[in-house]
Amino acid sequence: MPRVLRYVLLAAALLLAALWSLTLGQRDDVSLANILTLLWVDDGSLARSAVVDLRLPRTLVALLVGANLALAGLALQAVTRNPLASESILGINQGAALGIALAVVLPIFHAIPLDAMAIAGAALAGLLTFAIAGGLGGRLDSIRLILAGVAVGAFSYACVRFTYTLDDDLSRLVITWVSADISSMQAGQVAPLAVWTAIGVVSSVLLAHGFNVLALGDGASQGLGIDPRRVRFLGAGLAAVLTGASVAVAGPVMFVGLVVPHLCRFWFGQNHRALVPAVALGGASLLVLADAASKLIRFPYETPLGVVCALIGAPYFLYATLTARRLA
């Protein structure tokens, strides 16, 4: 199958998944048959307002967050040359969550925008993980990297969990947020996220060649005139920014960054130039589907997106750990 056709299929799947997800919800006068007219024609009905004002922002947020996290995972796997690396395993997700929790709890941080706090938390956690694993010196030890990520993640999450015990209202706020509940997204949150996604896709395309060369090893990349340290730094920074921006809007959605690049490699091969668009589309589709599932699992109640992703992703992580040969 030509590559273009595969992209078209993936994009079509994403579109269908998004339309299907838009038809799901409490109202039964929205269906696949009339969803397109509802989206394009403003007939002033309640169904139109439910779809456009309530469901559309939520589906778009799922789509964008999925693309961001999957791209972050791809960058991290390339940078660490480790198939198990992803923002949740390396503690970056939890670091971003800690940044947000601090912003919610401590009055000193109220003035700083949430995105900035989340990105700062993500970057700090990532930096700490890399430092412990010896990445700043140049050579990364893959087992150490993951164990360090686990420790940094546990540390950050312990701090986040501390806020549960503070105050009932505060704890409810933090837990709905930590479990990645995106059911009450507003239209205003979509545009900034879309900007981050655009930046993410463009930078990933620019870095793709560097990632390809990095896969050959440090020596080879120096021989080819590419500084491996620079690619590593840029890739890890990109991952931290994309994760932080997504976590600030949707909460820490786990495992998307691990699952999507893996699955895309089966279909699109190892070339990062081909992988970047595929991973972005794949992450978006996966999260839109997970969002649809979160509406369906206990209808009419909502199951938060983060929980759905963890229930899919955690067993996949176990599978990936067992089958990863290049680990030790």
Binding site: L84, I132, D141, I143, R144, I146, L147, A148, V150, A151, V152, A154, F155, Y157, A158, C159, R161, F162, Y164, T165, L166, D168, S171, R172, I175, S179, D181, R298, Y301, T303, P304, G306, V307, A310, L311, G313, A314, P315, F317, L318, T321, L322, L327, A328
Partner: protein
């Protein structure tokens, strides 16, 4: 001074420290109670408000902190010896998460069941998590770090389940398990002591009875077999005891990570690797750590309480990194 005497002195110092920290822990909290009043209350049983606070609210906490700290540390020491992995602990191989999932499951599915069943459910959960990890380890030869990763993965699967139950449960029953999951001794009563005391003492006695075999096991599989030990059966029995110890304490005080990792390492520095000394010393260290964590958590900013489990994680995560850095290099290659 002989090594024997040195160890005796070290262990007695540890014992005294534990007692002092326990008594100090009785005095801190939202209402301050001076130490002399505590001693008076404990031994003469007079006074009114203080007596109520000490006997009804703080003493059961301290007793539970000692019980569970000791149990977790003992469990960690056994697990580290059995799978010969310095990074192993009940938290890392998934026992804590498994026990937590089954305990939350029991609470949400059968809320009317008497609390005596909590430790049973937690043990089943802990055994199933440890079972998966050991089954995987049985079929493939794994490096210690790899084993730790599989434990982490299994733990994450069980934790996802816990999150699902917490978030989908109705609001009224939500905040209690939340605090419990952070490893808190808040609101513990003598009921909790009474349901956990008997199983913990039995398991601890069983562990002490097996110390000699544990020493033989540490000589390596071949030598142990040569000395007449049935290694697979012994290993299974020891892991079951360790899982039981950790699970029962999760059932009463929640998830308290890293105690089972830290205590044996500290104890090994103090008294060396012989299990006759290592197990009791680890137990004392665990008791000291948890009762200190609980006391400090109450003393930082009363009336707010910081969970002992959170303090343990804040201390334990850097400790884990330290252990990893000092051991990973020799075992990876």
């Amino acid at each position: 001074m002989s090594a024997q005497r040195q160890r005796i002195i070290l262990v007695s110092v540890l014992l005294v420290l534990t007692l002092v920290s326990a008594i100090w822990s009785l005095s801190v909290g939202a209402v301050k109670v001076p130490v002399d009043v505590i001693l008076n209350t404990l031994f003469n049983l007079d006074g009114d408000q203080q007596r109520y606070i000490i006997l009804r609210s703080r003493l059961p906490r301290v007793v539970l902190a000692l019980l569970c700290g000791g149990a977790l540390a003992l469990s960690g020491a056994i697990i580290q010896a059995v799978i010969r992995n310095p990074l192993a602990s009940p938290g890392i191989i998934g026992i804590n998460s498994g026990a937590a999932l089954f305990a939350v499951l029991l609470v949400s599915l059968m809320p009317n069941l008497p609390p005596v069943w909590m430790p049973v459910a937690a043990c089943l959960g802990g055994l199933s998590a440890a079972g998966i990890v050991m089954l995987v380890a049985h079929f493939r030869t794994l490096s210690p770090a790899h084993l730790a990763l599989i434990g982490v993965a299994v733990g994450l699967v069980f934790e996802a389940g816990v999150d699902y139950l917490l978030v989908t449960s109705s609001d009224a029953e939500r905040s209690a398990p939340l605090i419990w999951l952070t490893g808190s001794l808040w609101g513990r009563t003598w009921d909790h002591v009474s349901i956990s005391l008997a199983p913990l003492l039995c398991l601890a006695a069983l562990a002490m009875a097996l110390t000699y075999r544990l020493d033989l096991l540490s000589l390596g599989d071949a030598s142990a077999t040569g000395l007449g030990i049935r290694v697979p059966a012994l290993r299974l029995a020891l892991l079951a005891v360790a899982t039981g110890l950790a699970s029962v304490s999760v059932a009463v005080v929640g998830v308290m990570g890293f105690i089972g990792l830290m205590s044996p390492h500290i104890a090994r520095r103090l008294v060396g690797g012989s299990h006759r000394w290592l197990l009791p010393t680890s137990m004392l260290t665990g008791m000291l750590l948890v009762s200190l964590a609980d006391g400090v958590g109450r003393a930082i900013a009363p009336p707010i309480e910081v969970s002992a489990g959170i303090l343990a994680a804040l201390l334990g995560a850097p400790f884990f990194v330290y252990i990893m850095l000092t051991t990973a290099s020799e075992q990876d290659r």
